[in-house]
Subunit: 328 residues, 4 copies
């Protein structure tokens, strides 16, 4: 069993802690949070103890740390954990600054600790199977990828201010999926966008509606559509078109109940948001992290993946601002 | 080109006349109807002439007659047309009385004229392909068939009175489809039903909701569900389960437009009723009749099929009344 | 927390024990099985202890027992547990003999212990929502129910011999669902069937393909189709037709991946069998049992439901043998 | 009835002629083609006469001409027809050169004759309803449009050479649909592409795989994906995302037959190509042209629409070559 500590007892930290508490490969030892009460409450629910950072990094029973605190603390925590020789699972992004993110990777490498980044979508069973089918050659050569990703509603104004903008905060997930599924690094990014859904976002100089197009050296293309508003749930779809056919993943619903009346045949809306849509993915993600630490050869997103996705997000942001494609 | 006369200028006669007028294999010569104005109107729209029965049966240019008048006139018209050596396409049923229907078949045979019955559904492209796939062995041996068939709303009270009841009027189509798809004659029928949708139907002693189960000597089963009320259009589905898999045909909609909002993902309701749902089938049906008269070897429903379906309907009616399966 | 003991460490006992071990409302204390090694192995995996029946029934810390042993032991175990004042969750059926099943209910009542029966399907989130929507009047009055239920392959010959036949072993689940969704007790059952899929079943005098039709006093109808063979997975579908529309639940697949090529657009086959299809239902079922014991007013299947479903299965079996509908 | 002459007896001319021959509003008078035999053959099949251009333009019974000859003849024919005071239906494009296309519009205006362009897809019943639902405000404000359009296989090498390239030849249809559905003129186009499917196309310096992104002044976005290869038929889908929800149109299949076996649940591939997919659209398109000539106020694509789509295609082509967005 792998001894683990969770840093950050907010919404996402709670998800991770609950998954760790139920995972037979893990021993959830500590919860740490700058808000003592939050740490205490979560620790109690998970049979763990509250600990300061110093204490948990000092404890040799702690093999790994899971960083789920606010983004601006990530880089520092990665550094401290690496120095303490703990394996690291860090929520995305490592940092909003690509250079700082790269330093995280370098430090982890220097101290020879594993650094994984929380790109949860790669672990969704449907997307995971999509990826394996592509790699198994089921649709020949990948030619075009279409990613549709829409959040149900804009985040609060204060979140927008420190989010790094739509590309670094939201599209970064889709950029990672694009890279992963293309099977080849994009070398050009074009992006455009508008603020159509939220005045707060417009005022903040950000966009809430965006399209990006990635291009790889061999000419493979990937288009991503994002919106911060979606009336029918959390819209998460991917379509991969290859020389031999198409593979696609449709939205998930709560149940498979369908209704027919004079208005037609209706299924449920898509699952409301990421906690529901990626509940399985969050669980599998940590299980794979634990298995990887246990020695299994698993392809899980590394610090490098985190850096690369951030570079693509930066390029998209620059493309939006310069109204020109950007080389990466 | 085959010279043809249409007898009956009502709703279904109009459909047939319009299809004949557009078919390059046919020359629509006459329209006949007991209501002179109706005949005139339809004849004008189809570039045909109005004629009395005597006249059109006398005209040697008339190779075939299409009987689309009221059910109680069918048997007599079949007899007269057979004696006049005209090929016959007769709307279902030949007669509400199975013995009278059998006489139609006998007379047609005696005079060596072709007698076809208007089981339009067999000519629907989806059902037709379903049938060919079964015959081609695509799902191995047929084991169970499920037929769902629901009309949008009950017919008027006066129609109910002379309809012969749900089994002879409505389910007869499904009984024919069952026979056709089973590939083996049923030898036992069980049926039960209720009047849940219409007081008129209850008062008339008829049912508007019914289930029938057919059994063949080798043990194949077919279940049919009927209702005279359906809020989401004309519900017409068939599912055939075989040793090697399942084949099924879903409902048709006017367009393929889908809508998503907070209520979910919705397609259109099913097409409203038989004129829309079977528009193609009606056209193909007559084209095949004409091709068969021209010598093509086509499997189109004969007078015998009409008699056999009626016998199954009679058995279903008797089963309903006796609350016991009936051998056929 | 409710102290609980699991009797029977076979396939289904393992499912239940694992769900109890993860449920915060339960304290899984003992595993009991006539095969000592099986009990030991399961107990170890679930942090429980092995115990004899006497011991666990004597232990006051045991509030409830879960009976998952072979069917022929159920009635006796229910009696002993009732006398020991334990709440009881018993896998279906209580007994293959309806009178014996009724005695279970009587004894439980006599000793004022709760007796629940494992009709897992009622707890499936899709079917559960189907039921609530009906009760909420979303489709008006229920008129016709269609249940399709097909197992992937016939059970082993020795299982068939002691199964009680298709109606008591397999269709009993569908009969329970029919009763539950109809909202009115059926008073007539017609059933017919054949042995088309398995020689073992034919030789045993049982059927592997069957259709049953239920009728209620007010004229509501329910048809059930069963097969012991299905090439595309475990086929589990329900369709409920009411005066105001249709509600239906489609099959579940492992992932939502879809593939398109020259053969068309294909989704995955249905989930392979009940352990996969009803994984959530098994978990929810026990959670509700525990919540009901904790005082929540929940509609969960009782001993009476077990008896009633068995009576319908007996009626179906008799109908098959007498080729006539049977009153219940 | 409107007297009409068809110029061009090739594949598309034959479609149009057949539709005109069956349309009660039209009197198909002449067929003209530089290949006399082709004209003769088509005229015979449609009960029309063969005529030279001079003759048909001189005949006062000819109210309108339908131009379906090769692209390089369009502009000249439009001019001659306009001068002869004939209404004009011209297949797309008016010309591969936008200035020449504009001259067509000017000349038609100068001579006060109606000039319509064959953007068939606007007349597809599903896309047409999509458009009306948007205009009726069913999804609020349009924000993002996704158009997927894939041909089954690359055209022959000699066609590629004179096609004007993917954007002017193939994507022009999608660009027109984008404009039409956006409800606002795009003022910026970005396009990128590759030659992945065909060596002929690569050698010709053209692309067979492309993505374009359109932007309107108010910030609405439209992305278009094209490929000249598609294994599952002619892929024609549109998705429109608005402030209030999503509207989309899925692919069409030949029949609604579905099959289930161990490989999953499969529907048919998409209809093979445009003649099948847009058979209804071609018929409706001409009927609307005829009704518009008869005085009905119908929104059908005009010469201006033809010019505007061509300008967008030119911009896309320029964007591909300069690797930068292009203002229009």
């Amino acid at each position: 069993m792998i001894g683990i500590a969770v840093i950050g007892a907010g919404r996402i930290g709670q998800i991770h802690a609950a998954n760790l508490a139920r995972n037979p490969r893990a021993r959830l030892l500590y919860i740490s949070d700058s808000i003592e009460a939050a740490a205490k409450d979560l620790a109690q629910r998970c049979n763990a103890r509250v600990a300061s950072l110093d204490r948990l990094l000092d404890d040799r029973a702690v093999d790994a740390v899971l960083i789920a605190s606010s983004t601006d603390t990530h880089a520092n925590l990665v550094e401290r954990a690496a120095k303490a020789k703990k394996a690291i699972f860090c929520e995305k992004p490592l940092d909003l600054d690509a250079a700082a993110a790269q330093r995280c990777v370098d430090i982890a490498q220097q101290h020879a600790v594993r650094l994984c980044v929380g790109f949860n979508r790669r672990h969704d069973p449907s997307f995971d199977k999509l990826h394996s089918e592509i790699r198994a050659g089921q649709i020949g050569d990948v030619e075009v990828i279409s990613i549709t990703s829409r959040d149900p509603s804009p985040p609060p104004a204060d979140y927008i201010a420190r989010s790094g903008g739509l590309f670094r905060d939201m599209m970064i997930h889709d950029l990672d999926m694009g890279r992963w599924l293309l099977g080849e690094e994009p070398d050009q990014v074009y992006a455009t966008g508008s603020a159509l859904a939220s005045d707060d976002i417009r005022v903040a100089g950000d966009v809430d509606t965006a399209i990006a197009v990635l291009r790889t050296p061999s000419g493979r293309l990937c288009q991503i559509t994002n919106s911060r508003r979606c009336t029918y749930g959390y819209d998460q779809r991917i379509e991969v078109f290859g020389s031999g056919g198409l593979l696609r993943v449709a939205n998930a619903t709560q149940t498979r109940l369908e209704r027919a009346d004079a208005n037609g045949f209706a299924t449920e809306p898509a699952l409301p948001f990421f906690l529901e849509r990626y509940a399985d993915a969050y669980r599998i993600q940590l299980d794979r992290f634990l298995r990887a630490l246990g020695g299994d050869a698993l392809d899980i997103p590394s610090g490098n993946d985190g850096v690369r996705a951030l570079q693509l997000a930066d390029a998209a942001q620059k493309s939006l601002q310069t109204a020109a494609p950007v080389a990466v």
